[in-house]
Symmetry: C2
């Protein structure tokens, strides 16, 4: 026997684009073969994209995916890649379990398929269907009940899919007697701050169970509100990292499984990212994917001179290039001079298309008839900005992006339908205000370290936040200080602690009551926010489902 070269193809698929995904399989298989690989492994549900949600329930889609699979098998041979073993994911019409009858509910499976020599050599149906947080797989798939060990050039390779390794007693536990020499895992594991360590420890545990290295290939790229960070790796039974791919980029990670008895040799090892850089790049990846996959080329946002829109613009410039960012300053009569200067300076540093559109004439026209006062007057100004952005978007075809952050979204401290909440994508939706500042500082420091001009004007970072909708208005007049607010939000929202637990932690009861009341009342506003990339354990989006009408109040 000789060593087996494994290629982990960490690619960026798109949901529903079965033809495009099939082309990517062909192109990356060629790269893998050119690099001498015997086996190339793709992420979970390669051909269909992931997650497909209720597309799984559409028969024409399932037939389309199966046809693409058969075409891919043939195309690989036609391209001279028939020898290469290609392991990829797709939707399985009825599953290939011994219990061959389709699921009671008539549901398909989440399937891994091994192609070689123009044939489907093996199919494996995912056993464990995650149904928590962002996952709804019990809704759309039926479970497999058979393990899968394939022979690749005489070596025994076990195959499982994603959640299968997150549950004890799953297919991996049934596999150890098979004398597996390598376990490969096809994943669509969404990014979450600090999740990399959890994955590596888990994989090492499964490696010990089968007494063989585990090769973990993960999807990369943005899909709606999910960001897949890649970070594919190979880990040994003792937890040693044998190879690792960088996060947030497509990558072909190679690793050689040595002859039986020979020592394991580490391959490429990507350096880990700084915590702030990881989150920043997750957001950039999420926005870039959303823009590209939805056929946009440019984005449009209001630039207030404040930190939220400044960071959002910087992220957009990193995602799609500053020249594809359109920033509109829409000063009101309450906007300060420094705000306008900061907005202009930001746009200049980013190389963005910058425009100024004062809102006073339009606000005056409304006010002549409506004569609004107080909060209604403040909100009117904010909504006029929303209309201006949507109008420019209609005219020029940019995607409007919403700079609202998680702290204001959580507390409802925002005008619904204003420039901070309208549009198609909200990059900071899952980033609290404290983190907004930290990311801005990290981005500027990274630029300085690289000898470049920091993109975000320092005064946008240092000045006290204000909506500037009335004279002298400051966020801190309406909200607790952000560092305290964000700490309470983390406990109340992310960790679902009750009022009693919050008080036991020593938080001021007045602050607790204020935050709890604001959060409970803001559910409706949160539902109106556009999608945004998920970066923490619990985002306001797919993975927080609460009734809008809910009278539960913390005792």
């Amino acid at each position: 026997m000789t060593s087996l070269r494994i290629a982990l193809a960490q690619i960026d698929t798109c949901v529903g684009d079965v033809d495009g995904n099939a082309e990517a399989v062909l192109a990356w298989s060629r790269r893998a073969a050119d690099a001498g690989a015997d086996l190339v492994v793709f992420p979970e549900m390669t051909l269909t994209g992931y997650p497909i949600e209720d597309l799984a329930l559409r028969a024409s889609f399932r037939r389309g995916a199966e046809a693409a699979l058969q075409r891919t098998a043939t195309a690989l041979v036609d391209a001279g890649l028939g020898e290469l073993a290609v392991l990829l994911g797709t939707v399985g019409e009825h599953g290939e379990s011994d219990a061959a009858a389709p699921d009671d509910r008539g549901l398909p499976t989440n399937q891994a398929v091994l192609l070689q020599h123009g044939q489907v050599r093996s199919r494996y149906d995912k056993h464990h269907l995650p149904n928590y947080g962002v996952f709804d797989e019990f809704r759309i798939f039926t479970s497999g009940d058979r393990t899968c060990v394939v022979d690749v050039r005489g070596r025994r390779v076990g195959v499982v899919v994603c959640e299968d390794i997150w549950q004890d007693g799953g297919p991996v536990a049934q596999m150890d007697e098979n004398d597996v020499e390598l376990l490969v895992v096809l994943n669509g594991s969404p990014y979450e701050e600090g999740k990399g360590h959890v994955r590596a420890e888990l994989a090492a545990r499964r490696a010990r169970e089968v007494d063989a290295p585990v090769a973990y290939v993960n999807l990369v790229g943005g899909q709606d509100d999910l960001v897949f960070d890649g970070g594919s790796f190979v880990v040994a039974t003792d937890g040693t990292l044998l190879a690792s791919a960088p996060q947030f980029v497509e990558h072909l990670l190679l690793w050689d499984l040595p002859d039986a008895g020979s020592p394991l040799v580490p391959g490429e090892l990507a350096p880990p990212l700084h915590a702030d850089e990881e989150v920043y790049r997750a957001i950039v990846t999420g926005l870039a994917g959303y823009v590209r996959k939805n056929g946009f080329r440019s984005v449009l946002l209001g630039l207030s001179g404040g930190i939220d829109s400044a960071l959002t613009a910087a992220i957009a410039a990193d995602a799609i290039g500053g020249a594809n960012v359109v920033g509109v300053s829409m000063p009101s009569s309450f906007s300060s001079e420094h705000s306008k200067d900061d907005a202009a300076e930001l746009a200049k540093r980013l190389g963005a298309d910058y425009r100024v559109q004062p809102i006073a004439p339009v606000v005056d026209a409304f006010q002549e008839h409506l004569a609004l006062e107080g909060v209604a007057e403040e909100n009117l100004q904010a909504r006029v900005r929303g209309v201006i952005l949507m109008a420019i978007s209609n005219r020029e075809g940019h995607l409007v992006i919403a700079p609202g952050n998680k702290s204001e979204l959580a507390t409802g401290y925002a005008t619904i339908y204003d420039a901070g909440s309208i549009g198609g994508f909200a990059p900071l939706k899952d980033v609290d205000k404290s983190r907004v500042w930290a990311l801005a500082r990290w981005r500027n420091a990274a630029a300085a370290a690289a000898g470049e001009q920091p993109p975000i004007p320092e005064s946008s970072i240092t000045k006290p936040p204000s909506a500037e909708l009335r004279p002298g208005q400051l966020d801190q007049d309406s909200l607790p200080p952000y560092d305290l607010l964000d700490e309470v939000l983390d406990a109340y929202v992310e960790h679902a602690e009750g009022r009693a637990e919050l008080l036991a932690r020593g938080f001021d009861p007045a602050v607790v009551d204020k935050v709890v009341t604001l959060v409970d009342r803001a559910e409706w506003k949160r539902r109106q926010y556009p999608l945004g990339p998920k970066v923490t354990a619990l985002a306001f989006g797919r993975d927080r489902r609460l009734p809008v009408t809910n009278r539960w109040r913390e005792p």
Copy 2:
């Protein structure tokens, strides 16, 4: 033995309002006792409201519900109702299964509890957790595995919860050997057109399985986008309806289980509703519940003179009274005289607060700076109306409601953030345009039959639909005729048929391609729509989950 009097308390709970729901249990238990009942049965998850979604994951909420249960047991005794057997629903902390260990996932159960003499006499945990359509119970609950038969005055009463009777081989199948004399089912079964027959047939099947009558008590009232229609009933093993409650109202349905061996005697039987009346009242119930449970007293909408806003206003008047409806006519330079007349006439007939706010001055102020043309100019006019409504809502506290219908929502034939799509609730969100006309005609005919003035001006029903955003504009210039469009939408969206199936049905390929393209592109717009009551099998809301970024195109 004497006969056993059963009271089915078809009540309207509110999610999270454990104190209010507990009070309702007490009040309706008293009514039941006053009517001579031995057993009163409440709907699924009585104390917590239903569906509680991720509130189930909050420990403080679960503790609050358990405390309310214990208080209720005591309060019943204090009120002299200790003899009455009270069967109600709540969230169960860990389940009461023989396999007493909490679920792996640490999840609670969906529980039925029998209270009597101030004690919890029995607990039953729902076995089958629905996880399709609008249901996500696998996400938040763990299953029970024990059947429950309780003794009430010497009679053996089987207890199950909702989905338990929708699956073959469930707890009912395990129960037949127990010689159950009556099977009671606690339900939170959302309204869906024509579902009443399905429920009755299903219950009769289970009655045959246990060889005993089935008493089915259902929740009533609006909860977010779900409408519970009540319609509680008792059915015999041969399918004979022994008692039935009216739909869409709280009701105490009494029925006597006779001595063993005595014949079953039918009790109260509510007459069935006409199909259009049923849907109309479902929407009224959904809106009324949303307004009241969210603490509003009035609603606000734009009145264009068209059929959608006319029907929506009529529904609102039926839900909360015409005097609590504020209608704003916001004519543009393209609005016809008849439109303004129809809007005024409608408001007069409903007794609504009617205002006129021309949009030209504000549109001109925008246009002086933006100089928009074409669709961008049309959308600008529409969005100015949205801003006016939100401003009045801010000033006066009305809930803004959105009259957009399902056909335009499905195809994206609507301006996002206009008066048809902004606000908190969209009564016609799940009603296609053909049905909009049918409901308007039914409402007018019902008024005429009752000797009242029909609420909707005839010309709003008969004139060709137009957005009136440019001269001579008609919906039919951009869309297929609505009767055809709605038929294709029903096949493509509700029944998930592919392009091939649509063509095989004989639809014009050009129409099919147009509709399919419009629907596939409208996903983002649909996500921005406010909640609306679900009245068909498949609504755009909770029960249609598709990726926004999706490149799948029907072959």
